[in-house]
């Protein structure tokens, strides 16, 4: 007789399942006896009496599942028997309605009437795969980064010549025909089309449009480098033309971080020919240039969404004003030494928008995404003064998942910043939707509680401001995430724009009430 034991740590099955597993294990070929039981002292005592207690079983804890298999001496395939029994533990019935077809090559996928390929492979191979997709007449969303700029230009020119979309490289967000791709939010279908060189910027505009009662026809991503001087805005221009030709689109919104000046000119020149109103939200862009081109200038993401909704859905839509009384109440709680804001973001554009709110108020801001060299703060450096960090930037994501998926780095930083007595406000964003962490608020709450505890221990009020980018249709839903933050004592802003306005009001010199 040979006794073989497997311990499954902290594994729980209801007793009916356990009995079923035990019965099936006993029926497995080559098994004399099999027992499945929780690792309590009493059960181990019974096994001991039966002469079946091995050293591993003796170490099992109450929450561990013990699987004991007794086979005849000399049975050779014990490992295989155990594997079959372990399979019983993980076997789940397929969920209804779930079907997935796996294709090993782009060519075979193209033969299944697919018309779009999402490519997320190592940057070294990404251009090759994207080219294959384009050559097979597939539109491409290229999630991969680290693609040489020459390859990007060549791919975009090829796509342009074939009348295809080449979204990316480094494109993380799109909504095509109501289907969100990569990181995107569940928004109402509608008549606002977006072309964006900024992932979270476009997500923000789409959820604001949704919140204001409008909807999205298409959201076309271009990749963050599209509006650089080298690439020349090939995809943004093709995107504008695609939306101009799209019957479902009544107004177009362009979203980008500041483009190269010559590219901005080229892009704005497209506006006149679009035949539809175009709202331009280029962070830090010039109102004069946009107006001269016949576009609608938006100074903020909220403004961009509002104008788009005015143009398509509801001409009297409005956004609520900042709660001045709340601002005054928070300011009154702060000690004189609490002077600074620390922003710890996972969305680049969200970080940018809040940072610009302070920069425009004349404050010095250090950041890993600062355009002014003397205010650039490397990723690992300690914060100083007002610091805004984009944890989604390459420096932070090198070798690890994006913070929208893995928030651990941000959580550490949150607690560290809370210990600094000069900090008045901590600002965070939480991005919901397809591709994001399944519960971004829930995973952060313990760190928020610890941050609050540290401040309270020092007799300080630490104002934590959170913005949840998401909709009522998202997974998880916006309301639950907001409620959990509010229950934890976090002030929840209603938009990325309001986040910046609120922070500026708390920290700024202007009168607030």
């Amino acid at each position: 007789m040979t006794v073989t034991a497997v311990i499954k740590k902290n594994t729980y099955f209801d007793s009916v399942s356990l009995m079923s597993i035990s019965t099936k294990a006993n029926q497995a070929d080559g098994v004399d006896q099999a027992f499945v039981a929780m690792g309590t002292e009493m059960n181990k005592g019974v096994l001991d009496n039966l002469g079946l207690l091995t050293p591993e079983l003796a170490d099992a804890a109450n929450g561990d599942l013990m699987i004991v298999v007794v086979t005849e001496e000399g049975t050779e395939d014990v490992e295989e028997i155990l594997a079959r029994i372990e399979e019983l533990l993980v076997r789940k019935p397929p969920a209804e309605g779930e079907t997935a077809v796996v294709h090993r090559t782009i060519e075979s996928a193209a033969q299944r009437n697919a018309n779009l390929a999402i490519i997320a492979v190592n940057g070294a191979y990404a251009a090759r795969e994207a080219r294959k997709a384009l050559e097979n007449d597939l539109h491409v969303l290229l999630f991969s980064d680290n693609v040489p700029v020459e390859d990007e230009i060549a791919l975009k020119n090829l796509a342009h010549d074939k009348g295809l979309l080449m979204m990316g490289p480094d494109c993380g967000t799109a909504i095509i025909n109501n289907t969100g791709l990569c990181f995107a939010n569940a928004v109402r279908p509608g008549s606002v089309g977006i072309v964006a060189a900024s992932g979270t910027g476009s997500q923000e505009v789409s959820v604001r449009v949704h919140a204001l009662g409008g909807g999205i026809s298409q959201l076309i991503g271009t990749g963050g480098r599209d509006l650089s001087a080298e690439v020349g805005g090939i995809m943004m221009i093709d995107g504008i033309r695609a939306l101009a030709a799209d019957d479902r689109t009544d107004a177009i919104v362009l979203v980008s971080k500041p483009p190269a000046p010559e590219v901005e000119k080229k892009v704005l020149a497209e506006i006149a020919g679009a035949g539809k109103p175009v709202v331009v939200y280029f962070i830090g862009g010039s109102e004069e240039a946009v107006a001269a081109a016949g576009g609608h200038f938006a100074a903020t993401s909220q403004d961009a969404a509002l104008q788009a909704v005015w143009l398509t859905t509801d001409p009297v839509a409005e956004v609520p004003a900042l709660d001045a009384a709340h601002v005054a109440a928070v300011r009154a709680k702060l000690k004189p030494e609490q002077q600074y804001v620390r922003g710890i973001f996972c969305g680049g554009t969200l970080c940018d928008e809040s940072m610009y709110a302070l920069l425009n108020a004349g404050e010095d801001v250090w950041s890993n995404i600062q355009k002014t060299p003397e205010f650039v703060l490397p990723a690992g450096a300690a914060s100083r003064g007002h610091t805004f960090l984009d944890f989604g930037d390459d420096e932070f994501t090198n070798g690890r998942p994006h913070p929208m998926i893995d928030p651990s780095l941000r959580l550490e930083r949150l607690v560290r910043e809370a210990a600094d007595p000069t900090v008045a406000v901590l600002v965070m964003d939480f991005v919901l939707g397809f591709g994001s962490h399944e519960d971004p608020v829930g995973v952060t709450l313990p760190a928020i509680a610890e941050a609050k505890r540290l401040a309270e221990k020092d007799g300080r009020h630490l104002e934590i401001v959170g913005y949840v980018l998401g909709t009522d249709l998202d997974t998880p839903a916006l309301a639950g995430q907001v409620a959990a933050l509010e229950a934890a004592g976090v002030t929840v802003a209603r938009s990325s724009t309001e986040t910046g306005q609120y922070v500026r009001a708390i920290i700024g010199k202007e009168a607030t009430a």
């Binding site: 729980y12 009995m19 929780m38 829930g442």
Partner: protein, 290 residues
């Protein structure tokens, strides 16, 4: 799966705790109809499907089960006064009915209690399943467990009958954690017995206090269930059975109530009923000795 569910009813104790503070934790275990969240204070909060009855630390939700929700153990969870979130699933607390575990006073005399205990024995014989306290199994492990269960049951009831607290504690210790399941058969038996002993009018005054040392011998879920039973709180189907059993004038709908409890788990329901029956016999006998 994206889902927002609504709480139908919840244990008033959980509602009170969630009002006092945000309960943070993680998903402890997910079963077909029950999802357990363990909080940082080691409280276990159960989110049960609509078809499950009310119970201590339980929130009944308008879902038919948790399989489709794709929530896994370890997923961060938060329970507030307004709702709960775990993974992609949210549960909204929009004024759910609050559930209270109501006491069932032991007001029947010795003869009547003995008659009700015998009635339960008969119903248990008709509805109970083999294994656990009932024995009658060919599985060597289960058979060995059953022998120990019977020994433990005898030792405990004898100790309680003679009011020997130390012997009762030792006997209870020998039952806790005994049995293969998530709530081992020995615990289920003790739960039934503890529930009877916790009711107003019980004579089983030497029933052992279920301290951390004893509870540390079993699974967290079982420890919580036992601890609550010792305070007179158990799932509604069990309390309903006890109420019907102990109502003056003869219980109505007893067979159905027994069948509902017997259907809990694999042998859990049968073992709970065994504990209740043992408790009633004991109460009857202890009234005779006064």
């Amino acid at each position: 799966m994206n889902a927002t569910a609504v709480a139908l009813s919840m244990d008033a104790v959980v509602a009170g705790k969630a009002r006092e503070r945000v309960l943070l934790g993680e998903v402890h275990s997910v079963f077909r109809r029950v999802l357990n969240v363990v909080t940082q204070q080691d409280q276990l909060v159960a989110f049960a499907a609509a078809t499950v009855d009310d119970a201590p630390w339980t929130i009944r939700v308008d879902v038919d089960g948790w399989c489709r929700h794709q929530v896994e153990a370890g997923t961060p969870a938060v329970v507030t006064a307004q709702g709960a979130t775990f993974g992609a699933t949210s549960v909204k607390f929009a004024k759910p009915r609050l559930w209270y575990a109501k006491d069932v006073p032991l007001i029947l005399d010795r003869t009547e209690l003995a008659a009700r205990a015998r009635l339960l024995d008969d119903l248990l014989a008709a509805h109970g399943v083999p294994g656990g306290m009932q024995g009658n199994t060919s599985d060597p492990f289960q058979a060995a467990v059953s022998i120990r269960l019977r020994q433990g049951q005898t030792a405990l009831t004898q100790a309680l009958r003679r009011n020997d607290a130390e012997a009762a504690r030792k006997a209870a210790e020998g039952l806790v954690g005994l049995g293969p399941g998530l709530t081992p058969a020995g615990d289920d038996f003790l739960t039934g017995l503890a529930l009877v002993a916790a009711q107003p009018g019980s004579r089983a005054t030497s029933f052992p206090r279920l301290t951390g040392k004893i509870l540390a011998r079993t699974t967290l879920l079982s420890a919580v269930t036992l601890c609550e039973a010792a305070n007179g709180r158990a799932r509604e189907s069990l309390l309903d059975l006890l109420r019907r059993l102990l109502e003056p004038g003869g219980g109505t709908g007893l067979a159905d109530a027994v069948a509902r409890v017997a259907a809990i788990g694999h042998t859990s329901g049968t073992d709970l009923l065994s504990g209740v029956a043992a408790g009633l016999h004991l109460e009857s006998e202890m009234r005779g000795s006064v």
